[in-house]
Symmetry: C2
Subunit: 364 residues, 2 copies
């Protein structure tokens, strides 16, 4: 278990060569973090990073660089790349956490490679078979409430899952909801294509059977949740396999991005029929403000990337398209992850549910 060094400020290692536009967004985020007094080290090619920082001519505010000469590409085969390139920025960043030189890691790189590196270098929490990526969806009626979000996992770490994995995701997700959103006894559901327990697949029915038959003190199992209910307060945690979770996440992103474009098109159509220039401008301005506000609430990156739950340390994944603000928010979230002892809380929760896992292990 990664233990915080006493008397030292919490420090985050940021993979400087993860994002699609690397390393610019990372450098920018690091400077913003340093300005805010956050302890951070930038991991990547020292010459490039030094040049980038010199270019900016700004105060480096004590920003450290840890040298890592190579980079893992977005389309590389994850496990192979991690083994072949131990000196890649992503691997070195994870090494820093494994060596307890830092307290958390953030990368906007190849998420499969980050998972592989974390498994190889940090290992899993005791008793867990598969870590999961957790994402948080906004709720339509709780936009203003930072805690009013539904945790969905696995959002893509494990394309194929067994009943045991889903049951463990329930336990791990509940610990995350408790620590991150302050929900004392999270309501956990299994994502399915209907509310009735006969719905779903062999996988979901297996998980439903185990979770409904063996109540836990630390979370309340509320049965199946349908995909359209994820944007409401019907449950705090929804568990699914990484294939379905990834489809759900990307579809939500697509729908959320399509909507404002549709509204603008519709308003342009209306506007063209009622040519009142002044009124139109006011309406357009108000809608822009509204759209921006909604976008701010919706932006998954504003909430600090997606944590990789169940590896032995605080690891946060950013979107490849992440910009400086998104990466900065992920750094802040990763720091909070370490500060609040999420890894330890997950370890404890796993230990409390070993009997449940033994039952689940008997199912396919």
């Amino acid at each position: 278990m990664v233990v915080m060094s006493e008397g030292r400020r919490l420090k985050v290692a940021l993979d400087a060569f993860g994002s699609d536009r690397r390393p610019d967004p990372e450098v920018e985020a690091a400077l913003l973090a340093a300005k805010d007094g956050l302890a951070l080290e930038l991991v990547g090619d020292r010459a490039v990073l030094d040049a980038k920082l010199a270019e900016r001519g700004s105060d480096r505010a004590g920003l450290e660089i840890v040298h890592a000469p190579s980079q893992i590409s977005m389309d590389a085969s994850a496990a192979r790349a991690v083994r072949a390139q131990p000196d890649a920025s992503l691997c070195v960043a994870v090494d820093r956490l494994a060596a307890r030189e830092v307290d958390a890691v953030v990368s906007a790189g190849n998420s499969g490679a980050l998972l592989a590196a974390a498994l190889l270098r940090l290992g899993r929490c005791v008793g867990l078979d598969r870590p999961a990526i957790a994402t948080s969806l906004p709720r339509a009626d709780q936009l203003d409430d930072p805690a009013g979000r539904t945790v969905l996992l696995d959002a893509g770490a494990n394309v194929e899952c067994k009943v045991l994995n889903l049951v463990q995701f329930a336990v791990v997700g509940a610990a995350y909801s408790r620590i991150e959103y302050g929900v004392a006894r999270p309501r956990v559901a299994v994502l399915a294509n209907g509310r009735e327990s006969v719905k779903g697949t062999a996988l979901t029915r297996g998980a439903h059977g185990i979770l409904s038959g063996h109540p836990s003190d630390s979370f309340e199992f509320v049965g199946y949740v349908e995909p359209n209910e994820l944007f409401s307060a019907r449950c705090d945690v929804a568990v699914t396999d990484g294939w379905t979770g990834n489809v759900a996440l990307k579809l939500a992103e697509g729908a959320m991005a399509a909507w404002p474009r549709m509204l603008r098109a519709a308003l342009a159509e209306i506007g063209s029929k009622a040519p009142d220039t002044e009124g139109e401008a006011a309406i357009a301005a108000a809608i822009d403000a509204g759209l921006q506000l909604v976008a701010r609430h919706l932006d998954p990156e504003a909430h600090g990337g997606a944590p990789l739950l169940g590896v032995d340390g605080a690891v946060m994944i950013c979107h490849g398209a992440a910009g400086p603000r998104a990466i900065l928010n992920a750094v802040i979230a990763a720091r909070r992850f370490a500060e609040r002892g999420l890894t330890e809380a997950i370890g404890d929760a796993l230990e409390d549910h070993t009997e449940l896992f033994e039952l689940a292990r008997k199912l396919p």
Copy 2:
């Protein structure tokens, strides 16, 4: 094969006891259809329907009733219910099509039961293993174009699928895109969690391999499509298993419904800070108009329900929550389905691709 009787107007059988609020939305839809001169028969309990129609006191406009004394509930086990209740409204409606007394069937009832009844009473198109439910998603930049929609199938008929099913969905979906939306050579994609062919599951990779290795004259295979791309013009047809398709559809519905609520909340927040009552009212009115316009374009029911593709006859499924307008639109779509010979076109397309299916049949 269901053949249109010559010299007779196309007629639709409407299950009067399908929807959640049955039979009121169905009766209302039937009256609207009759007023529009559409030939339609209402299938259900004659006494109840007569009373409903008498209550309305309106001109029945030649509306026929076909008696069916019982009903299948929404949560009934589909196959069992269809066998146990041959006199249920849903079964009798399908019987009318099997007997060629009508040219198409519409039901807002239990979709599993409708599928089971169609399989049992109409059978499948020759050469097809599994029929699929097709749904159409709007594209952000083509709201005004009725043909600018992406066909997604299977949206829920087959929770578990083999490679053969996905390959057949590609052929069937392309035929639908051609007939319904006039796309001469539809671009077909397999839904996956990334664009690269190494992504996905054994199922998607199997379908990708078959479709990319054996080009068809009637459609263009364009590889994988990601869920967030479904709201764009990246492909005309996206194929997936019924589990994933159902999750995608319900998630899209949920996200699309959540968005306007989020915008209203955001605007209320902005409005409360700038209390200009008159301007606010104008803005609210414009946004309402815009939202309504978007909703009209988005509403899956406005586009006439979801066709069940690959059974031997025109069968259209409505949402259980469907109202009169949605059901009327489904009746119009079902009529068009029969008129344009969609079933025959699907049969021809299947016959043209038997070699492809033989290859796919060797994969799991």
